[in-house]
């Protein structure tokens, strides 16, 4: 990464500016993000993108997590990349359509579930055999599963009569899943970093017994452990994206499971450290909590951790 002319920091900065802009005009979120090129980083040059690897979208996803962007930005990026060159891909890239991914269900099973922002998205990827199909959400009825997040419910849909717009074969679908793993890891790392930074700022300003709360050793140690976990998670993802000395690529699964367990810890602790403030709807920490928990269940973090252990046992 660092050898390239564009540094990840520059991508993060550009993404940050675009996201702030989008948050000031919530109705135009998709357009603003598309115009800023956030969906195009990892799309092939031939198809209108910047032609960079998925690792260059990492700062975008991380910044989105940190700034609590409420838009399926990870889904949009990986769908635009996977469907580059198709009509749907072009629409996703340019911001004419919003895409989401159903992490449960399949065409065969007849339902799709755990699709973020499905009630407002236009297209949804759903498993289909060993590949996946992009379906037109206008062709099905989406029910909101608002239990965890009334403002940004997950979606559930019966798939009878679903109109398929495009397909991914097994290899392409596997590639997309790897991209999803990477970018969600980045997104939740960003969420953790944001929660940590908000907490550190808050506790530096909040006064008790004549000193800032950040002077208390218990508070300092909580923040230190949040920092440690987040640094480890970020370094783990960074490493997963680099080849080893023998030019072999690395597995990315632990980058996601590690990012998720850290982010749950950090965001929950951040709420705790904010005291009563942390428990209010006004303070936006709970958005990150919901986002992180939704990703955790959608990507089945517990089952993935178990699979990582089983794979290690089998290989030993």
């Amino acid at each position: 990464m660092s050898d390239d002319s564009l540094s990840p920091e520059e991508f993060a900065e550009a993404a940050g500016a675009a996201i702030l802009d989008a948050q000031s005009r919530p109705e135009e979120t998709r357009d603003v993000l598309a115009e800023a090129g956030l969906f195009s980083v990892s799309v092939a040059e031939d198809h209108g993108g910047m032609g960079l690897g998925i690792e260059f979208s990492v700062p975008v996803a991380q910044t989105a997590g940190e700034k609590q962007l409420r838009f399926p930005v990870v889904e949009q990026i990986v769908l635009a990349r996977a469907f580059a060159g198709t009509e749907a891909g072009e629409a996703l890239l340019g911001g004419a359509l919003t895409g989401t991914i159903a992490f449960a269900g399949s065409l065969e099973a007849g339902f799709a579930a755990r699709a973020a922002f499905a009630t407002t998205a236009d297209v949804m990827l759903v498993a289909d055999g060993d590949g996946a199909a992009l379906i037109d959400l206008g062709s099905v009825t989406v029910e909101a599963d608002a239990t965890l997040d009334p403002e940004a419910p997950s979606g559930f849909a019966r798939l009878e009569g679903a109109k398929v717009l495009a397909r991914l074969d097994a290899a392409a679908y596997a590639g997309l899943k790897r991209d999803v793993t990477i970018l969600f890891a980045a997104f939740v790392n960003g969420a953790a970093e944001g929660a940590l930074n908000r907490s550190a700022d808050y506790l530096a300003q909040r006064v008790q017994f004549g000193r800032p709360l950040s002077a208390k050793q218990a508070v300092r140690h909580h923040l230190a452990r949040m920092k440690l976990g987040t640094e480890v998670a970020i370094a783990r993802l960074r490493r997963a994206l680099l080849d080893n000395e023998f030019a072999e690529s690395r597995a990315v699964e632990t980058a996601l499971t590690g990012a998720l367990s850290n982010a749950v810890f950090v965001v929950e602790k951040a709420i705790h450290l904010h005291g009563g403030m942390g428990f209010t709807e006004e303070l936006p920490l709970h958005y990150s909590l919901r986002d992180v928990r939704k990703i955790e269940t959608a990507l089945q973090a517990g089952a993935q951790t178990r699979a990582i252990g089983r794979a290690f046992i089998d290989a030993a």
Binding site: L148, R206, K216, A218, G276, F279, E281, E282, T297
Partner: protein, 403 residues
């Protein structure tokens, strides 16, 4: 709703189990399924429904066990209070909407109030005729009461003029009275000059602004007091005196309020397991070693909490001071339940869609409970405050070199 309140309470002296058996039987016969979170009929009650239900509970001997009969109580002991709480905990009814009155204002008034105040306030608390809210916390004070700014100034006619702002005031919008903590001097006086009032919430100058909590409810409010004038008979105790007496009451309350918690947690765990069993995709997870072990740990933690509470009751019945031991239960129950709710949320969320109605009900319950549980390590003194208290007052750890 109407309930059987034509009840003769058993005499606990003749049969140790009688009171608990009574509570169990009455709840089995009277608690409507709409008030049970593990029932498919469950519906969060309106304020009026909750008042009617709690008033009936009181008449049936399930509230006010330890309050003197002259003030509407049942004149019994903490042991009956505990016995009832075990049965109240065993059913998943909503939390009391009158707990500020019954567990905070009532005991304070009992300790420092005048006879007239006791006669006026105490029975109305138990019959749910008066709703109370608590006005202690302030935006800039947190747990540092020395920073409390709400000020009460006595006027020539003996009345008091109150100015200030309170926060985290649960149920302020529906309360009839506020148990209000003020200072009579300046902030520089720190802990001196603290004074409590029973302020009617319809007094001119009071403004309530609800605050939404992350579980989507109006869980608490900010309350502004702008030149609020109350008569001198709204004062609870003398300056200083009242507050220090109240502090003692509150430390007992911290150890004895909502004693039903571990029995309630056990009922929640049963609900969770039943819900998991009801959906085949979830039921298989109950075979996993990690799930069985985690449930075993939660059962163990619940038993520990029960032990803490039963021991505290025995000690208080034996006349021992409770001291700072309420901090042990607060820290313990809040972290046990917070972590249990994280587990429950994760378990019930692993499968989607859920086809069993009971599992769907449980998903709603535990998702909300998971979010709400974020507050449990915060309110009534954060975990850090409890640890500070345990270190200071139970372990007596020195902060300075001994001379």
């Amino acid at each position: 709703m109407s309930f059987d309140t034509n009840v003769t309470l058993p005499d606990p002296a003749t049969d140790r189990g009688a009171f608990r058996a009574h509570a169990r039987k009455w709840l089995a016969e009277n608690l409507p399924s709409t008030l049970q979170a593990d029932s498919l009929d469950f519906k969060y009650p309106s304020l009026d429904e909750a008042r009617v239900w709690e008033a009936a509970m009181h008449k049936a001997g399930l509230w006010g066990m330890t309050w003197p009969k002259e003030y509407g109580g049942h004149g019994l002991t903490l042991r009956e209070h505990l016995a009832v709480n075990k049965e109240v905990g065993a059913v998943l009814m909503p939390e009391s909407v009158g707990s500020i009155g019954k567990e905070l204002a009532g005991p304070v008034i009992m300790a420092v109030g005048t006879e007239a105040q006791k006669n006026h306030f105490l029975p109305n608390i138990l019959t749910m005729s008066h709703m109370w809210c608590q006005g202690f916390s302030e935006p800039e004070a947190g747990s540092d009461l020395a920073r409390l700014r709400t000020r009460a100034v006595q006027q020539e006619d003996g009345s008091w003029r109150i100015n200030g702002q309170k926060i985290w005031t649960s149920g302020a919008a529906k309360a009839d009275y506020c148990l209000l903590l003020t200072r009579t001097g300046t902030v520089a006086d720190k802990h001196r000059g603290m004074l409590m009032f029973a302020v009617p919430m319809n007094t001119p100058g009071i403004r309530v602004v609800n605050i939404k909590s992350i579980d989507g409810k109006d869980s608490f409010a900010e309350v502004f007091f702008d030149d609020v004038v109350v008569a001198d008979d709204a004062r609870l105790g003398a300056p200083d005196e009242g507050w220090s007496a109240a502090i003692r009451v509150l430390s007992i309350e911290r150890a004895t309020n909502r004693m039903y918690r571990p029995w309630r947690f056990e009922a929640e765990l049963k609900f969770l397991v039943k819900a998991l069993k009801s959906d085949p995709d979830l039921a298989v997870k109950l075979e996993d070693a990690d799930v069985q072990k985690r449930i075993g740990q939660i059962v163990t933690e619940i038993d520990g909490l029960k032990g803490l509470i039963e021991r505290a009751v025995d000690q208080m019945m034996g006349g021992a001071p409770i001291g700072a031991r309420g901090s042990l239960s607060k820290l313990s129950w809040s972290e046990t339940h917070q972590s249990f709710m994280g587990f429950a949320y994760e378990m019930i969320s692993t499968v989607t869609p859920l086809n069993s109605p009971l599992a769907q009900r449980a998903k709603k319950h535990f998702t909300t409970a998971y979010l709400f549980a974020r507050a449990e390590t915060i309110y009534a003194g954060t975990s850090e405050v409890q640890c500070d208290i345990i270190a200071q007052r139970i372990l007596n750890l020195p902060t300075e070199l001994k001379a």
